[in-house]
Amino acid sequence: MVSTLLPIRLEEAVVSKRSKILVGPVSTSIDAGGPTMIIGPNGAGKTTLLRLIHGLERARRGQVVFAEPDINEVRRKQSFVFQKPIMLRRSALDNVIYPLSLRGVPKAEAKQSALAMIERVGLKGSEDTRATFLSGGEAQKLAIARALVTKPDLLLLDEPTASLDAQAMRDIEALIQQAVLDGVEIIMTTHDMGQARRLANNIIFLHEARLLENTEANLFWEKPQSDEARRFVDGEIV
């Protein structure tokens, strides 16, 4: 199955809050095939850009255009994992069942696939813990499970592994790579350059709200065009 959503074209898109520009103007295209990683310093606008693509932020100017014309389709086929996990005030299990029940999946079936997904992210045993009690990492895992359970075509991940332990990070990365093989398109942010190197197919580099690069990963690692990017990459501790 091949995603019908990408390529996504951003045309002079700008997000601003009370006269402060958070992102843009950005004009670029995010194409199908392999994860696109958005990197850049804190406050560069990574989260905002993801939210803009997902439709959580309105473009003050310019626009975001998906390949898929039907906007409802576009919405339905995406999942977003937030940087600060949002937990419903329910059990971990019910958190994962929730999006399914919205889509009218029968209870039993929903529960089954929810449990399966919870196991895959390594939360087996915490099904009945209240989501708001979960530890930082557990919450992040649960958010990922909730995002994947609806089998989206496009997965937007905002620093999904920020507070995961090594084991968990590997599991999640494996999950992501598997998803890619299944034809799921992925756009994610990370501060872990190791992770970027391992997963990225394309790199988008943001700096102070401006998009400085959107290139094929290898090229980017070899020699970044902008010297902000160069300094950012050299700044790395490997």
Binding site: L56, S79, L88, R90
Partner: protein, 234 residues
């Protein structure tokens, strides 16, 4: 002061002796108020949640007006309902005037604003938490309302209880539309007003004490059942 002491003992005796008349009006008070609260909740809770999630243009004005309507004087509500239900009024044929039903209608109108207002407020806070997620998952507006009402159910108790309180203690409106007819539409508050008019303050107070006791018991009951304010519940 003598009145107050007299009232206390009188209230005590009324209760322990299960005074028949008292039981009758207590029962009527409860059935009228509870019906009103149930109906108002069915309308008010979803509506309150709806204003919280919906960002329409005149939102602030709607909210301001609802807050203002918390100030609807019961007497005025009573008058309007009276006019509507009276023989010469549009709903005269229903012949509802001076029946408990009329009292329920009046009370629903009186408590709706406070129900909506408190609901809106507590939902708004939860909505701030859930907003991104619910939008992202692509919930319909109605699904959002249901989800929020469900997850905020504990907080909504305050709204419902506030409504109950306002209704059980109200007298101005139900006096007009109910008529405080003995054995038909007389409830605790109208009886209190009557005794006050008679100058029998201690009996009036005694009835008031009974009313408060009922309210307290009921609140304790609900709090206990719903386990609010317990460590670690939401």
């Amino acid at each position: 002061m003598a009145d107050i002491l007299a009232a206390l003992s009188q209230a005590f005796w009324l209760l322990v002796s299960f005074d028949a008349d008292l039981m009758e009006i207590v029962w009527r008070s409860l059935s009228v108020t509870v019906s009103a609260v149930v109906i108002a909740s069915l309308i008010g809770l979803p509506f309150g949640a709806w204003i919280a999630v919906r960002r329409f243009r005149f939102r602030r004005y709607v909210i301001a007006i609802i807050n203002a309507f918390m100030g609807l004087p019961p007497v005025v509500v009573g008058l309007v309902v009276y006019i509507l239900l009276s023989r010469s009024g549009p709903f005269g044929v229903l012949n509802l005037l001076f029946t408990p039903t009329a009292m329920v209608i009046a009370q629903v109108i009186i408590i709706l604003p406070i129900l909506i207002s408190i609901t809106h407020q507590s939902i708004r806070d939860l909505w701030a938490n859930y907003h991104d997620l619910l939008i992202s998952i692509g919930t319909s507006r109605w699904q959002r309302v249901v989800t929020l009402l469900f997850d905020a159910r504990r907080a909504l108790l305050t709204a419902v209880l506030a409504g109950f309180g306002r209704a059980i203690g109200e007298v101005g409106a139900i006096m007009i539309v109910g008529g405080n007819i003995d054995h038909v539409t007389r409830v605790l508050t109208t009886a209190i007003a009557l005794e006050t008019g008679k100058g029998d303050f201690s009996l009036a107070l005694a009835l008031g004490i009974v009313l408060i006791i009922i309210a307290v018991v009921l609140n304790l009951l609900i709090h206990t059942i719903s386990k609010t304010e317990r460590e670690g519940t939401w």
